[in-house]
Amino acid sequence: MDKSDTMKRAYTIRTTILSMIFGLVAFSCEQDFPNPNNPTEEVVLTTKEGLFALSIGINQYYSTSALRQIIEAPGITTREFGVTNTFQNLYELARGGDELSGDSDGVTPPFVRLTRSKGMVESLLSNLDEVELSESTRASILAYGNLYKAMTLGYLIQLFEQAPINNSSDGKAIYSDRTAVLNECISLLEAGRDAINANSVSSEFQRAVLDGNIDLLATTNAFLSRYHLLAGNYSEAITSADAALTSSQTSVFKYDENNVNPIWDRTVNSSSLDPQSNFGLTNANHLPEAGDGRIAFYLGGAKGTALEDAGGQPLSNMQGFFATSTSDIPVYLPGEMILNKAEAYARSNDLPNAVAQIDLIRTKTNDPFGVNAGLAAWTGNASDQTEVLEEIYKNRCIELFLTGMRLEDSRRFHPDLLTSPNPANTTNERNRNYYPYPTIERENNPNTPANPAI
């Protein structure tokens, strides 16, 4: 080989090796692949479209998965439902008492789904300042988020003695007692109410998310009324109830073929649960009166009995807000506002006003949802506070059937019904005051409070 050949050869070798390395490098550029199947947190929480989509998702998850648990678990505990299936979770709730442990799949799902809903709302609210939004849209999302957060937190504190006001991704969420939680609910709702009053709900949010199904302001006021009442702020409860009652729009959760009415699904569409006849009321003072239009509204014909070891109570066909797979479920009932007022007056010892509200409920024939008792005015002893309160309790049980309020109401009206120890019971008005905290929470969160005595 002469010199030029050697040089040529060296040149071609160099070129070849460089080409090989180049070939390798030309491909090695992509190291990050976006997930085309699911948007990630970053995508959802940093755009207006993402926040709107999350808002819709919150309503979807809340109205199907969470609402089922809000109604079902306390419904079984307080005999609104009779259990017709040997599923362990249902059976454990029906028996309750000391037998109900944190391991039970009866108490775990309500806690899991409410905290999960709450987590979504917290993500929504905490990223509100990260996204550029018009004032009215920001106010709308804030009010919407605060409403859902107050609802999830409120239902949690109705079922558990304490609740974590804020979720914590490090697994160390801190629990607060009932007073603190109710105060948080109230301040959330007040902030939401004030934001809408200052800016009104944006038409964009109205169109994209609310879709005419929920009157944000009225619902906020309605839940304010509820939590004020539970917190013992009676005059505020009355004011808020009045504010809610000024709205002519009803607020409902809507369902479709792919997202069916969850209580219809658990009763009509399944052999697990059915409503108990007479709303599950057995005390003579609470039995619905003949001719009460609400009986026919909520309950159909007889449908056998509950399992013997789950109480064996007579059952009825499901009607009312759960009759079909796509029946609307009200977010709150106007009747609750009247009853909140009645109770607030009664507990403030303003019995004449309380009785006036009781009569309003008893004689109602114009309920926007058709929950009309159509009875005569009350004839009981209007000067006996206990008797007035019992009449309110009875009407709450009937009017607010399967709204997730019965456990709270029973505990509030009859606080001393249960004492510890409390063996399993399938026929009492209720068999627990509060649920034990789920074991998966206790095992993974060191701040989980001790279980309630009962």
Partner: protein, 1002 residues
Amino acid sequence: MSKNMITTTHLFRYRATRYLLLFFLLILGAFSLQGQSGYKINGTIKDTEGSAVIGATVVIEGTTIGAAADISGSYAFTADLEPGAYLLNISAVGYSATSISLTLADNQNITIDATLEIDILGLQEVVITGTGGLTEKKQLGNSISKVEGVDIAASGAVDLTGSLVGKISGIQVMQNSGDPAGGVSVRLRSASTVNGTSDPLYIIDGVIVNNNSNDLLGVQSVQQNRLSDINPKDIERIEIIKGAAAAAIYGSRASNGVVQIFTKKGVSGKPRISYSSSVNFNSLRKKRPFNEAQLKWAIVGEETEAATRFDYQEMVFENSTGTDNYVSVTGGVDNTKYFTSLSYMYNEGIMVNTDYSRVAGRIRIDQRLNDWANFSMGSYISRSHSNDKPNGGYNYGVLQAILFTNNLVDPYPDEEGRYPQMAFFPNIFEVLDKFDFQQQNNRSISDFQINIAPLKGLTAKYILGYDNSQSTGTTFIPFGTNTEELDSGRASTRTVNTLLLNSDLNIVYDTKIGSFLKSTTALGATWQIDRTDQTGISGDGLALGVIGTNGAITIESNQYKTEWSIWGAYIQQTFGILDRIFLTGAARIDGSSVFGVNERNQFYPKASVSYVLSEEQFWKDYVARFVNNFKIRTAWGQAGNLTAIGPFDRLTNYFPVSMNGQTGLISPSQLGNTELKPERQTEKEFGIDMSLLNNRLGLEFTYYNQDIQDLLLNRTLAPSTGATSRIENIGRMTNVGYEILLTATAIQTKDFRWELTTTYSTNQNEVYGIEGDEIGIGNFGFSVAKNGYPLGVFKQGYYARNDDGSLLLTPDGFPQRERGQAFPGDVNVPERDGEGQPEGELLQKVIGDPNPDFIASLISELSYKNLTMRIQFDAVQGFDVLSWDTRMFNRFGGGKQEEIELLGEEPKGTGTKLFSIAESYIEDGSFTKLREVSLSYLLPDIINKEGDIRFTLSGRNLYSFDNFSGWDPEVNMDAQSNGSRGGIMGLIPIPRTIKFGVTVNF
């Protein structure tokens, strides 16, 4: 932002294509093809017995110039080299390589003959897997196994993995179904993950290939794995390394070991054609005992009356046939060699109306560009099709219907063509006749390789690999069958497209430092991508006459796409001291897009020592006459596994929901975790290779210890996090075992040769770090990963027993489940009531282990002149099977148990009791199978004194020595599942096959 990213990605792809084109042009331009008018070199290669060494490679050292010996052992090639002194390297499989000096001077025609010595340990064999470059086996500190193509072709298995059974130690090949399209699982040493896959990394001709198992039909047990697309007849050889100690340089996807497959290459000379054709006959090896008492209950438990009982097995199984035709053409002139093949295989299943067919073609072209560079290009295309029937535990299926039906039902359709319902399953004939389940696969694998040897001792190789598979499964149950819930018809189509791309550069530099030190440095870099698109559509309530979902009442569709990449580089350094001590160290940096940014780049080291003691003078003087060759080796290394999580599992992925015409997003119950990293195996290995008795007996022994850390498992979260779980690197697994390979040439004369090969391997697997002590992983939750136990043990209820171990019967005389109190830490305290009967809660414990105590094989190959006989036994011993078949046959009337009860041999109701005691249907699955028997006769020199014809008669899975009550203990309900093994319910057994074949070479 994401939009921008997509645009950039597109731009990059476009650029990448352009660069690639440019790159090819550059490379082709770099080679100035020179005229070829050099030295003509030829000769003959024989072994010590005087037989031609077919396929021996002859190469001039430091160049790519050479040739392979033909059927008569002759080789010839032309070398255009400068005059001077060269070395001619001659090597062949099973022989010690040798080098002969060659002087190129005035004489243009040079003849060099050589005689090769048998190398029973293969110490001089050259391997490439795990080393980066060609390396003699004696240099390796780790074990490596090799399987020759001829052994694979001779095995008679239709698919590649099936043909590996019993061929090497430390491998467990599990054929998960006897369906002709059934899948296969391969474990090298053992499982090494809980949630991922333990199947090895497969590389074919430098291309990392897809071996996914996709459930295309929605029938868990009927799943192919994609290696079934590969025609085993094209294989030249397979190299296998089994764990991290050897595989570290393959990085994050190598902890399960690596199986590297080399397909045939062209041989210079005039075209040679090889044609083979075979026909095979399949049959059911064994019928399962069933209820043949021609009786039924008149009064249950008391009185019987005559009845007709049907033999359903007779109706659904049949003897079937298959054919396999294969033709290959190879040849070439000096600088260009080619190999092409075409095949068509059709095999019917033993279940009525099932079959599998595969048509495949391969082409490889090797082109020498000049004396220091060559390139090679190969392409493989195959298309397969199968007709399947639903079977296996999780769904309706033919065999389940048999298990669940009291065989009093006459399954034949009535006059109006209505098929009677069988239990709660579709009628067997209705499924066989009317349910149309098919799978179709298109596969294309291509590689482009450039090899250069630009300087003495320096070689570089670039490989671009491409593997595309398109799989489609369709199911169709017509409108109007008599099956409840399916009578309105159901149809589905599921498609999975997977593209794998790898781009690899390997550079090796060999040099001598002084007179006693030899150094080999290997450097490599890789980039790999995997893109998978899945789409599915299914419809219920079909329109009359439509074979598909058009017009269906409800239609569901789904789509899922993934994309991920791996990038990495390694360096490996070997020092050879006096050609007897070899020290190797290597390190790989490996990154994968699957993991969070901070954990992407991982470091995997390895180190090994090999000492060929028999090269020492003292050994040669004193020991060699007893122990001819002796090598000790030890290796340590780490490698990863990333199959336990999907490409996007580290992210918090929101889920789309739609409601009332609005589309929203909800947060997931599984939180993302950007701190995830690959599972990491650390493996230690120690071994001895020795040959005795004048190289007649070879022994390879390997002990290994694997510690797999950072297993990716789901961890439960406090619900107050807003989620319920997160994947974390929390698990751990260990494997300890040893492997023995014994090779003996019992008799060797010129005409008569008897070779025996035996393998034995054992492994002890244990799992740790499972949160909450155990997780269910399949088999209806009976198979669990449990701390302190081997992966996939069965945990369930067990018999109540007396102190002496006998069964504690109920007052009525029935066996029953143990009861008592269970305390944390698996402490079960049985309790007895006043009558001495069990009371308390039903207790559970570990009642079986599907992992074998040992796996062994024995292969005997006898040849006399042109007649060869081969026998292979495979044994898998000491493993349990969870036989759902037994359970169902205990409970339902079609089983033997009902016959026993009808005949009054056991009280009525015994079977029903056994049904609910899991221990009663755990069976010993241990088997020894007569896997292969073959007889072949070679008729040489038949055509023009050059061609030959070989006749082969072979049998596969002829007989099984086992105590298993069912059809076959080898299959698995969860198909290719990693941890859920040993579950059997309604699975097609592996058929017995007799095959007659003819191969013509000319």
